[in-house]
């Protein structure tokens, strides 16, 4: 090779190095055990504040805090190559300034010995998307046909400040509703005083809070509706309709606006779409995604207020034997039966989901360990005494339940789930058909 060609190659090499230096995304190549082989500056910029040992020698170790399950995700990825996770959103601590960040993380398995990761800070994109969604909700609220809607002014505590005709029309309440909490529009087990405060806080914090579900009329009848809460000054700034509403209200400084929409006419279509996204196809209760979404929200609330929060992980005992003996249709009927009993046992505010083949989870807001144990025991008893009605006749089944309660040492949903799983393992180990809490799993050797 002559000198000119060598020089060209060196120039090209340098340009290539700088190209990767400047790439606006974090790129990492590692061995399958996570040991980093190559890493570009943006990856180091994002990962250094996370690395507890101050080194970047292992990808999994460096990301342990925000993605503790990477090793197991990779191990569980059976194919010889491909995308292990694609654009996974990982909340990350913000470092010295304390503002939390959101990272997007992708992991690609190149072959059995090499992996490649991409990391990006998408905090701002996520915020923009949220703003867009906010506007979408407004458009939705205004443009989508609704059977009827009520516009309700709330004070800072979430109590109705005045009666108007729309309240009477949609909910049947007279002016005796003034001074009562917005919980009056919810069925009894669908909201708690704490949750009312959560919704107000969410509205204050992010500009709005929206939930769909059953609403209660004064005569005790239910209708399917959505409730949107927004701080009145935010509404006034955003929207002429709300500005007019806020101008009428007394509590303009600290009050909220609640719009309860009767969605009865549209319930079938919106509910079908919602169910397809968040419900388990077999049992009709929440699916894994719905569980994690709801659990993330509960944990955010927990970090703000540290109210009791417990998690049950429920596993059908000897489910494989049931399947093998009676066949899968009967196994499915047993799972549906368990899901049905869950619906009957737990409150509407509890997050009930099927998170695995024969594994279920229930998140219990406002339940400490003792009350979670009581509820779990009641459910275990219900399953034991009520056989599933199947095509093969009644089939008896039992469940084992592990409990974990949220505390400061528990970093995230995965960690909480892991602790509940450990308690579940103890319950299985002690002979099944029983409930184990954290203390019991510690006491159990092996």
């Amino acid at each position: 090779m002559d000198v000119d060609a060598q020089d060209d190659l060196a120039q090209e090499h340098e340009a290539l190095i700088q190209f990767v230096y400047m790439a606006p995304a974090g790129l990492v190549q590692a061995r399958s055990d996570g040991e980093i082989v190559m890493i570009n500056p943006v990856a180091a910029q994002l990962m250094m504040p996370l690395s507890h040992d101050g080194s970047l020698s292992n990808l999994f170790t460096a990301l342990e805090e925000i993605a503790p399950d990477l090793r197991s995700r990779l191990a569980a990825f059976a194919a010889s190559q491909g995308m292990v996770c694609d654009g996974l959103h990982l909340p990350a601590p913000g470092g010295a300034k304390g503002e939390r960040r959101l990272f997007s993380f992708s992991l690609i398995k190149l072959d059995d010995s090499r992996i490649m990761a991409m990391l990006q800070d998408v905090t701002w994109q996520a915020r923009r998307e949220r703003l867009l969604r906010h506007q979408e909700v407004w458009l939705h609220a205004i443009l989508t046909g609704v059977t009827d809607y009520a516009l309700i002014s709330l004070d800072a505590q979430g109590c109705v400040t005045e009666w108007n005709e729309s309240i009477g029309r949609v909910t049947g309440h007279g002016d005796d509703v003034v001074g009562r909490s917005l919980a009056v529009f919810y069925p009894e087990d669908a909201i708690t005083p704490e949750r009312v405060q959560d919704r107000l806080h969410e509205a204050e914090h992010s500009g709005w809070s929206l939930d769909d579900g059953w609403r209660l009329r004064a005569d005790g009848g239910r209708f399917w509706g959505s409730a949107m809460i927004a701080p009145q000054r935010a509404l006034a700034a955003d929207n002429p309709l709300a500005a007019a509403l806020a101008a009428d209200a007394d509590a303009a400084e600290t009050g909220y606006c609640l719009i309860v929409r009767d969605m009865s006419a549209h319930r079938d279509t919106t509910e079908d779409a919602r169910r397809a996204a968040v419900c388990d196809h077999l049992t009709g209760i929440g699916n894994r995604r719905a569980f994690f979404d709801a659990a993330e929200a509960e944990l955010r609330r927990w970090r703000r207020l540290s109210r009791p929060l417990s998690l049950l992980v429920i596993d059908a005992d000897h489910f494989k034997t049931t399947n093998d003996t009676h066949g899968h249709p009967v196994g499915d009927a047993v799972l549906r039966h368990i899901a049905h009993l869950m619906g009957a046992t737990f409150r509407q505010i509890d997050v009930v989901a099927r998170i695995g083949g024969d594994e279920f989870a229930v998140l219990l807001p406002a339940a400490d360990l003792a009350s979670a144990q009581g509820i779990a025991e009641r459910f275990r008893g219900a399953v034991e005494t009520q056989p599933a009605q199947t095509d093969a006749g009644p089939v008896r089944c039992t469940v084992s339940i592990g409990i974990a309660t949220m505390d400061e040492a528990t970093a995230d949903v995965d960690a909480l789930l892991k602790r509940a799983d450990e308690a579940l393992y103890a319950a299985k180990h002690l002979g099944r058909n029983r409930v184990c809490g954290p203390a019991m799993s510690v006491a159990e050797p092996g």
Binding site: E14, I17, Q18, Y21, M22, V42, A44, Q45, L56
Partner: protein, 130 residues
């Protein structure tokens, strides 16, 4: 011609002696030197730093450090510290453990961040001899 100077990475009161050195003299130092202005644009980039990073001076000098040359330092541990101390009108002399991605290899280094109170010039010094 005596261009060889002996400054140590960890010696105290390093800012003024550094400021007195010419580009050729900076090249003789046994630690990496990146000099930046208050606008974060690179003014000095010594031979050792150029060699280890695999980038020639021409590609680096005149460009903003944290966006074009070393995005890895654009976080609260490095970039923010310069900003915070400048905003407070204080001097900065801080040594910290860090990992640089020299030619995409993670390399453990000690960084020394130097800035005078209200001074136009700041330095990031890089020591690989740990």
């Amino acid at each position: 011609m005596n261009t060889h100077v002996t400054l140590e990475f960890s010696q105290p009161e390093l800012l003024d002696p550094l400021l007195a050195l010419s580009a050729a003299e900076l090249d003789t130092l046994e630690f990496g030197v990146i000099g930046i202005g208050a606008d974060t644009v690179v003014r000095d980039y010594n031979a050792l730093e150029a060699k280890l990073a695999g980038l020639s001076k021409e590609r680096v000098i005149g460009h903003p450090l944290f966006t074009v040359v070393a995005p890895c330092m654009n976080n609260f541990m490095v970039a923010q510290r310069f900003e915070d101390t400048a905003a407070a009108g204080q001097a900065l002399d801080l040594t910290l453990d860090y990992v640089l991605t020299l030619r995409m290899r993670p390399v453990k280094v000690k960084l020394r961040l130097l800035a005078g109170a209200g001074a136009e010039r700041r330095f990031v010094l890089v020591n690989r001899k740990l």
